[in-house]
């Protein structure tokens, strides 16, 4: 392990940064007058905050081993709700945002309840929930796009300029910072990683699995709610923006899991992934002027990056295995009888006929799950 890392210049952990650097150099040489400008920088930064926030929303349950497919729908409903309350009921900006967030939290609680108490698969719960929310959205808006509220505060909430950047870039980073704190520096985050890696063992260590899983669903919905409000404030109350952001959000998480701490979903990895993609996309768009480049680049990058990470892991494992076999100086002739005992004695998992190394540990247990 260590030897690989020493000679790889962090290729495994920082491939995203290298790729970003490469993209900047390539586009910088190719189209310097278009690419190397502050306006490009601002475009790149301004394009992604909502994707990033939804990515963070997806990230939290994902760490605990649950999918939240309802983030897009929650964001959409929350944003529209805030707009509709202002337009039709003359609520103030603060009140309507508060209502939007409270309903998001409520949706998160319902998701969590179904997953934890009724043991329904999170995939199904949130898929159903997002369909249900789409219906609610229709009811709330009577299926016509609401007008943009006239409030000055509302319209500038996300888009007032700070140093050339739109404000919601900063909101997104503040959000990332908070999520990072929660995941990396609180017991909650620690429990969540443990639950995601081995729910049963976490429970046996006294971790309150149900409570933390539930909480992760609530946090995910809350962040999505905030993202939805910001999106509607910045880009207008569109009726279908949410679901189209769902896949990019997941892509950011999976890409992020190949970065910084490979093999683990992590906040800054996801943020890095979002921006590497943004750089690539905007550069290619400047070169080609084509719309489809966006989707194509995202798809290729996701598959490519994850394949690369898997390949690196496999090869690292292979090297480690070889090293262990070497250490044990496994002698074919001498150990023939012994090996048969080992195989029949059930040293390794079923179907694995390698001589059990230390890595393999205890034999298969005849014990079922405790539930």
């Amino acid at each position: 392990m260590t030897t690989i890392r020493r000679f790889s210049f962090g290729v495994d952990r920082l491939s995203g940064l290298y790729l970003a650097g490469l993209l900047i150099v390539v586009f910088g040489i190719w189209i310097p007058h278009l690419f190397l400008t502050t306006s490009t920088l601002h475009t790149i930064a301004d394009e992604e905050p909502v994707t990033m926030m939804l990515g963070l929303g997806v990230l939290i349950p994902l760490i605990g081993g649950n999918f939240d497919l309802s983030v897009g729908a929650v964001a959409n409903l929350s944003g529209i709700l805030a707009v509709v309350m202002q337009n039709n009921h003359h609520w103030s900006v603060g009140e309507s945002i508060a209502l939007a967030l409270v309903s998001s939290i409520f949706i998160g609680m319902v998701n969590g309840f179904l997953i934890v108490k009724w043991h329904v698969n999170s995939f199904i719960v949130t898929l159903g929930m997002s369909t249900l929310l789409a219906a609610l959205l229709d009811i709330v808006t009577a299926n016509s796009q609401p007008l943009i509220p006239s409030s000055h505060l509302w319209n500038n909430l996300a888009t007032f300029q700070v140093g050339g950047f739109e404000a919601y870039v900063f909101y997104a980073f503040i959000c990332a910072f908070i999520v990072w704190w929660v995941l990396d520096h609180t017991p909650f985050g620690r429990y969540l990683y443990a639950i995601g890696a081995n729910k049963e063992a976490s429970k046996l260590a006294g971790v309150r699995v149900d409570r933390w899983v539930w909480m992760s669903m609530v946090m995910s919905a809350t962040i999505s709610g905030v993202a939805g409000v910001l999106y509607c404030s910045a880009s207008g109350p569109a009726l279908t923006f949410g679901p189209s952001l769902l896949l990019p959000a997941f892509a950011a998480c999976f890409l992020g899991a190949t970065q910084l701490r490979p093999g683990r979903f992590n906040v800054w990895g996801s943020v890095l992934a979002v921006y590497v993609l943004a750089i690539g996309v905007s550069g290619l768009q400047l070169v080609t002027g084509q719309q489809w480049i966006n989707e194509m680049f995202n798809g290729v990058a996701l598959i490519g990056a994850v394949s690369f990470a898997v390949w690196r892991q496999e090869s690292a494992k292979k090297v480690r295995r070889r090293a262990i076999d070497g250490e044990n100086s496994y002698d074919e002739e001498l150990a023939e009888g012994e090996r048969h005992l080992l195989i029949d004695g059930g040293g390794g998992p079923k179907g694995d006929l390698r001589p059990p190394t230390e890595e393999v540990g205890a034999g298969p247990s005849d014990k079922g799950h405790y539930e």
Partner: protein, 448 residues
């Protein structure tokens, strides 16, 4: 190795299949949601015409195979609905399916009765004899001595990975076999002296516990006492500690810690009230293999590092390092390495460290040295003695009788979900335990 005079290529399932060798694993590895028919066909292939499964033909074929062994279930039965003996029957039918090219010549059964009630065992013995009568060699591995006499012609005793004796069954008695299995040397016993537990000074009291295979168990463990629980696989030994801890559902009974009742399925409360549980299967239940040693070590109690809204990595690392040092975990600088990269013994030490940090009053240890090398085993035994000396109560379930003999003050023998006898410290010895566990009657009388 040779089968039927032809060399067996080691490590190749296919080679052993072609030579006519069939293996039935302990749990039969059947898919319980599928029907018997589907389970059979997954191995032999579905007979088909133009790519369409010839269902009726195949079911008739399966029914024939089942009949050949004189079994009672139908091909359309769901495997999950069958009894344990019937499931083993399915596994047998599957293993012995007619195969023109590579006929079955040799059958291995690995503890087929481990999780089987006794009436089913007789039935299985009959089936196995019938198989043998059809000209198939059978290698039958078992804990239960009665079965050997019901099934076998020849018996081989293995101890510590070596063959002790191979002889005709007729020359052996249950008694003599038990002696051969345990070996004669009685180990030096290292601990003694404990106040026998009574209701009054018991730290842990279990009253009339019923859970899964456990039919009714009551026991007490006092402070400073190490109590062992032994029993064959299927006696309820594997389920006992999980249900005491609250990880498995209890259908009846109470568990008290110092007089306070422990609620159902609240492992967090069990931990908070001073209970620690080391499950038998480190990989699945014990440790979180993908997390680092440090994270595993501190998972059960993060409180001390949580200061002013921030987990202090520095104090956490410092404390983890101390534990690695104290329990002599190798590699010493492996704090941030995933738990999976440690050897079995070191993983187990880390699991001990995880609980020792919490200073529990009651330790529940399930197979504490399973998959652990010899030297680590010694260290872990010493650790268990130290834990008891410091005033904690320890309850150990183990299939390793030597281990039980070495560390326990008192031993309870579990049989079909009930405690059938108790051996106290002056009588604990390998011989007696082996006999008791294997159910040889006269020594039961001797112990009581």
């Amino acid at each position: 190795m040779e089968i039927g005079g032809r060399p067996l290529r080691l490590g190749s399932k296919q080679s052993s299949y072609r030579l006519g060798c069939r293996v039935i694993q302990q749990d039969g590895d059947l898919i319980s949601d599928l029907t018997v028919f589907d389970n059979l066909c997954l191995t032999s292939g579905y007979p088909s015409r133009w790519g369409t499964v010839r269902r009726r033909y195949a079911e008739a074929l399966a029914a024939q195979e089942i009949e050949r062994l004189d079994l009672k279930f139908k091909p359309s039965d769901r495997v999950g609905d069958l009894t344990m003996a019937e499931r083993t029957g399915v596994a047998l039918v599957r293993a012995l399916q007619r195969d023109e090219r590579y006929p079955a010549k040799f059958l291995i059964l690995d503890e087929p009765t481990a999780t089987m009630p006794s009436q089913d065992v007789d039935h299985l013995a009959k089936i196995v004899r019938r198989v043998a009568a059809q000209g198939v060699g059978v290698l039958y591995v078992s804990h239960r001595l009665q079965e050997i006499f019901a099934v076998a012609d020849q018996v081989t005793v293995i101890r510590d990975g070596r063959i002790v004796v191979t002889s005709d069954v007729r020359h052996q008695t249950e008694r003599s076999l038990a002696e051969l299995i345990s070996g004669h040397e009685i180990r030096k016993v290292s601990v003694r002296n404990a106040a026998p537990a009574s209701e009054a000074n018991a730290l842990l009291t279990v009253r009339k516990l019923v859970a899964g295979p456990i039919r009714e168990v009551s026991l007490q463990v006092a402070a400073g006492e190490i109590v062992g629980v032994v029993g064959i696989t299927g006696s309820g030994r594997e389920a006992l500690l999980a249900s005491i801890f609250g990880a498995a559902v209890r259908t009846a009974g109470h568990v008290n810690i110092e007089g306070r009742t422990l609620p159902q399925s609240r492992t967090d409360l069990s931990v908070a009230r001073g209970m620690a549980f080391l499950p038998a299967d480190r990989k699945v239940h014990g440790g979180v293999m993908d997390l680092s040693a440090r994270e595993n070590l501190t998972l059960a109690n993060l409180g001390p590092f949580w200061r002013r809204g921030w987990l202090s990595l520095r104090t956490e690392r410092a404390e983890a390092r101390v534990w690695l040092e104290r329990l002599d975990v190798h590699p010493r600088d492996g704090l941030e390495r995933p738990l999976a990269t440690f050897s079995g013994g070191n993983q187990q030490k880390l699991m001990f460290a995880k609980w020792l940090r919490c200073r529990p009053k009651i330790f529940l240890l399930d197979e504490p040295t399973q998959g652990v090398d010899v030297s680590a085993k010694e260290e872990i035994h010493q650790l268990i003695l130290d834990i008891a000396k410091s005033g904690s109560a320890v309850l150990i379930c183990s299939s390793d009788l030597e281990e039980i003999t070495a560390v326990c003050h008192r031993v309870l023998v579990l049989h079909e979900g009930q405690i059938v006898c108790e051996v106290n410290h002056s009588q604990v010895s390998m011989d007696i335990l082996t006999n008791l566990v294997l159910g040889v009657d006269d020594s039961m009388a001797a112990a009581q």
